[in-house]
């Protein structure tokens, strides 16, 4: 793990939604990252002013390439630049990847339940990709809570994986608008819906939950009340306040 700033080349920029984009970075000497880790990004203005923010890595590899997906925050300082201005061929500085807790390791034999609120899907996607690339046969299940179909990250990849992977199940909960023909109306995630769409306690799953603070707090609380051991639940939060499930 390195705490030094390193130079990254921007090698790709792909829109995910109206407000989010995936940015591919190549970092000289990077030896890959664990699934679930984050990097710090430092931007420097022409007078030397700097701003640093943390972003989850969406990929999990063993080489010099990684991808982050950045959602533009209203009034954000760094995210609008990354989403709207940064161009392929630009360079920026990164630190990391860092983090040893909210990570999934391919040697983990337990079934895994991932629960994402909005852009909290990013580190969970890195776990899904690492799991798919590994011979690890344990089942993964993703519950992805999002406002509308248009807000989904990695839409095509998750659709294909959900249909074809023998070891991944993907469930969606839409809180504002549903796709055409969806069997239920848009509504907030409830404890009942949650518990109906996750691995049962007898499977002793490991949980990774990522989203806004209130979403993560609420979901973790429901899981504990439903009898899942607190020690099996790992959480990561972003953003300030707001965002009930």
């Amino acid at each position: 793990m390195s705490t030094l700033w390193r130079v990254a080349d921007v090698v790709s920029g792909t829109p995910e939604t109206e407000t989010a984009r995936t940015i591919g970075l190549r970092v000289d000497g990077l030896m890959g990252n664990l699934a679930g880790q984050h990097i710090d990004i430092r931007l420097t203005a022409d007078d030397g002013y700097t701003a640093v923010r943390s972003y989850s890595v969406a990929t999990a590899g063993m080489d010099e390439l990684l991808e982050i997906t950045v959602d533009e925050l209203t009034n954000g300082e760094v995210s609008p630049y990354l989403v709207r201005h940064l161009a392929v061929g630009d360079r920026l500085e990164i630190r990391g990847p860092v983090g040893g807790w909210f990570v999934w390791r391919p040697a983990n034999p337990n079934p895994v339940q991932l629960i994402a609120g909005g852009s909290g899907v990013v580190p969970l996607m890195s776990m899904i990709r690492a799991h798919e690339a590994s011979p690890n046969p344990s089942p993964f299940r993703l519950l992805y809570s999002l406002k509308s179909p248009e807000a989904a990250f990695y839409r095509e990849e998750l659709f294909i994986l959900g249909r074809e992977s023998p070891k991944l199940t993907v469930d969606y909960v839409y809180t504002r608008a549903v796709p055409p023909g969806w069997p239920t109306a848009a509504k907030r995630l409830s404890a009942e819906t949650l518990l109906a769409k996750i691995l049962p306690a007898e499977d002793t799953p490991d949980f990774f939950i990522c989203g806004q603070t209130v979403f993560v707090e609420t979901v973790a609380e429901w899981l504990v009340q439903a009898g899942y051991p607190a020690a099996s639940i790992r959480t990561e939060r972003f953003g300030g306040t707001g965002g009930t499930p």
Binding site: L43, Y81, G100, W101, E221, G240
Partner: protein, 197 residues
């Protein structure tokens, strides 16, 4: 100077001398924890200090509340780069809690309900540097923020201010706690940007 991002202007908060390097000010109070928040009823809550000799002092909630309470006004700095300036807390100074503790240890491990641990050198807990706080901005500390009570060591990154504090163990060696075993710095001075190990 690093790589310049043309067209990036930023918000210029670093002009504020209260902000350590790499930090930005937030008006919110974000939450950083590793798992679910434990639920600790006041009647079951206790706070202990155990020495390297195994001598143990324990306070119930009532005994703890009977100790001298002080108001603390301080800035807090999270390793995830937000800082919150001018926060107000109420609690008990660690100097008060350590009054009758005899030890030759230089290190401590703070233990929380739920199993969280973090290591803090003893001298960073004493001489008016640290408190066990139970009130934030005039209200009882919310569970998400560490209630009923949390350690408050505001001169270090905020992961050292263990939520849901249960007690302090004095140790012979500097033993890495939870985040310190997961890539974060053993000491965590925000002014020296000691974020990662």
């Amino acid at each position: 100077m690093g790589i310049i991002s043309s067209g990036f202007h930023g918000r210029r908060q670093t002009g504020n001398p209260a902000l350590p390097p790499g930090q930005h000010e937030t008006a919110d109070f974000p939450v950083l924890t590793a798992g679910p928040a434990p639920d600790i009823p006041i009647q079951d809550w206790e706070f202990f200090i155990v020495t390297e000799q195994g001598r143990r002092q324990v306070w119930s909630w009532d005994a703890f509340m009977a100790l001298p309470q002080v108001e603390i006004r301080t800035d807090i700095h999270c390793v995830t780069s937000w800082s919150k300036l001018g926060t107000t807390w109420r609690g008990v100074s660690l100097d008060t809690l350590f009054e009758e503790v005899e030890t030759s240890s230089e290190f401590t491990t703070a233990h929380s309900y739920g199993g969280y641990t973090t290591n803090v050198p003893l001298q960073d807990l004493l001489d008016g540097h640290a408190w066990v706080a139970w009130e934030f901005d005039g209200h009882p500390l919310e569970r998400a923020h560490g209630g009923p009570a949390r350690l408050l060591v505001p001169h270090l990154y905020f992961w050292k201010s263990a939520k849901w504090i249960n007690g302090i163990e004095l140790t012979q060696d500097d033993v890495p706690g939870f985040w310190e075993s997961n890539g974060y710095h053993m000491y965590g001075d925000p002014w020296r940007e000691e974020r990662y190990s």
